[in-house]
Subunit: 345 residues, 2 copies
């Protein structure tokens, strides 16, 4: 009898807790009323914001012909330049730079070998030219030979202290407030939000879960190979200096199919590297939504598109315009860029 | 003002809907009272059942020193021989057999080439000897050249009509009722349940979501390579005849780290192919639970372990006994094996 009551009580407690958790995106905000009135309060009124809200209202309306069942509400977000800034170089590069400098004494050959040479000479222009591929190379050279646990610790230590070279705040403060609101808004409408990024998956997992409210298992990215080592009963996974998968361009829809196994209905990116993910999402038989961030704010953030070495947006912008996908004009659509601007108000 | 009211109303509706969904595992059962009294009603009383319940009670008790926070409640389950039967051959093999027979006219070389020869000669003993590797070969040969969408349709068509050769019921009826209850019990306690199987991930995804209540994105398995094809604006993903990843032995913890990015706290398997996943789970600093299914019921299911070509359990059983992991004695621990036995009562 005692067990019966314990289980019944547990059932009630779990029911209450799960309901509370489910609504956390709304209730955790101290300004609950504001959040309920306008879940996208950092977005200026206009067609961009309206198109997002209209889409979500439509596909979550059970009597709409465009209704999307909850298990199919998969939303994928690129990370660099889409959820946080990526200038003057991918932020993961600054982490790699610190590791290269630490390891340089053991690697005299790096003085003449790219992309290491550029790192040691602080030549950011050259580094930017090496692109995502260069980043992956640095990641492999600097992050191999450690276990997944050690690597996680390294990244956590770094993000706790490192500062952006020109903004002079922590890299984790350079996330886009309007996108944080969008992620929260989608989750409040039972979308499952994913990061699908060219960045390293274990690099991101070390700290973005807390910032974005996206669990580790919903973070997808590029990877190096790994090996299991039983290690006399204390098993570890070792990171090997060999590329496993680049999660960019065609790699994005391929990884989405491998890992999620379902076509997204909502896709958000900022570069040509996201175009195939957009095309894949646009081919969904369910009503889908494609959202491009166009970096147009040279004052508050950065302005760049077709001529940028990082986050180049050219074909993607043409296709977005052609097909009527939604394009965020950062300068005009976003009231604030970063969360710390809210604190300043 | 109208928008404000719409949003508030939407919030209330979503709150209600999400609470209902959250409790579906309990409320969808027509015998609600029984389910709440004993979530593992198909398990006989005894130390196996007690050890599961004690573990779950302990790690979900906020005042226990072993409390595990909800995001860390990751539970991984092997599929073949662990959630459904695997005799006289992996069920995926029967699907492959039908495809091989359909395609045989175009492949005269298969008459002398294993594992195709065994398939065409209905030589199941020989096929079993080819093991998981043989299965993967058949999958590659018979499933490549189609798109992911076509493949999904093929599997759905097959599972709707195919019958097990000796049990003479659909393969999807040969799932273990006690394990379905365990999955549901864990989810009711906020565990996230995953399939981590040597079987093909897209094969499983085509039908197990509905049976196990596990969404596609929580199904992990072996894979063949794929390619993105823009296909004049109607993009498809093509399945290539090349192995991408075998999700077995060391591959299991490696894939868990790649895809989930967190060490599980609960691991369930039935063969030596699950041992590394068990060891990885056992190394969690959080209190973990390792559960082996031992096939001991030659009457209701099958009895096999160290001498089986399929699901061989040898080292795993020794290590389980050595380390005090929980071993299910199928014959004595399970009241019923398959769901249809419940209907018969």
């Amino acid at each position: 009898m005692k067990n019966l009551f314990t289980l019944l009580l547990l059932g009630i407690v779990l029911f209450t807790v799960s309901c509370k958790n489910e609504n956390k995106p709304v209730s955790e905000n101290s300004a609950v009323e504001i959040s309920q009135i306008d879940p996208l309060s950092s977005w200026n009124e206009g067609k961009t914001k309206a198109s997002i809200i209209n889409y979500v209202n439509d596909v979550t309306n059970a009597s709409s012909e465009n209704f999307v069942a909850i298990p199919d509400r998969i939303a994928v977000f690129d990370n660099d330049g889409n959820l946080w800034s990526e200038q003057p170089a991918y932020f993961q590069l600054f982490f790699a730079i610190d590791r290269v400098k630490e390891m340089a004494a053991e690697h005299p050959e790096w003085k003449t070998q790219q992309p290491f040479k550029a790192v040691l000479e602080n030549d950011m222009t050259e580094l930017a030219k090496q692109g995502e591929h260069g980043l992956i190379q640095l990641v492999m050279a600097t992050h191999a030979g450690v276990t997944t646990e050690e690597f996680d610790k390294d990244v956590k230590n770094w993000i706790a202290t490192a500062k952006h070279p020109t903004k002079n705040v922590g890299f984790d403060e350079l996330v886009y407030q309007p996108m944080l609101e969008l992620l929260q808004y989608l989750r409040a409408n039972d979308f499952k939000t994913y990061v699908v990024s060219g960045g390293g998956v274990d690099f991101m997992r070390a700290f973005v879960t807390e910032i974005y409210g996206i669990p580790e298992e919903q973070i997808i990215g590029s990877r190096i190979k790994t090996a299991f080592d039983y290690n006399n009963g204390n098993p570890v996974i070792k990171r090997l200096p060999e590329l496993d998968f680049i999660d960019d361009k065609e790699g994005k829809p391929l990884n989405i199919q491998k890992i999620i196994g379902k076509k997204p209905v909502f896709s958000s990116g900022n570069s040509d590297g996201d175009l195939q993910m957009m095309q894949w999402t646009a081919s969904n038989k369910l009503k889908s939504f494609m959202l491009y961030v166009h970096h147009t704010d040279s004052i508050r953030e950065w302005a760049y598109d077709i001529n940028s070495h990082i986050g180049r947006l050219d074909k993607g912008l043409n296709e977005a315009n052609e097909k009527g996908w939604t394009v965020i004009d950062m300068k005009n659509d976003w009231k604030v860029i970063y969360p710390f601007e809210l604190d300043a108000n």
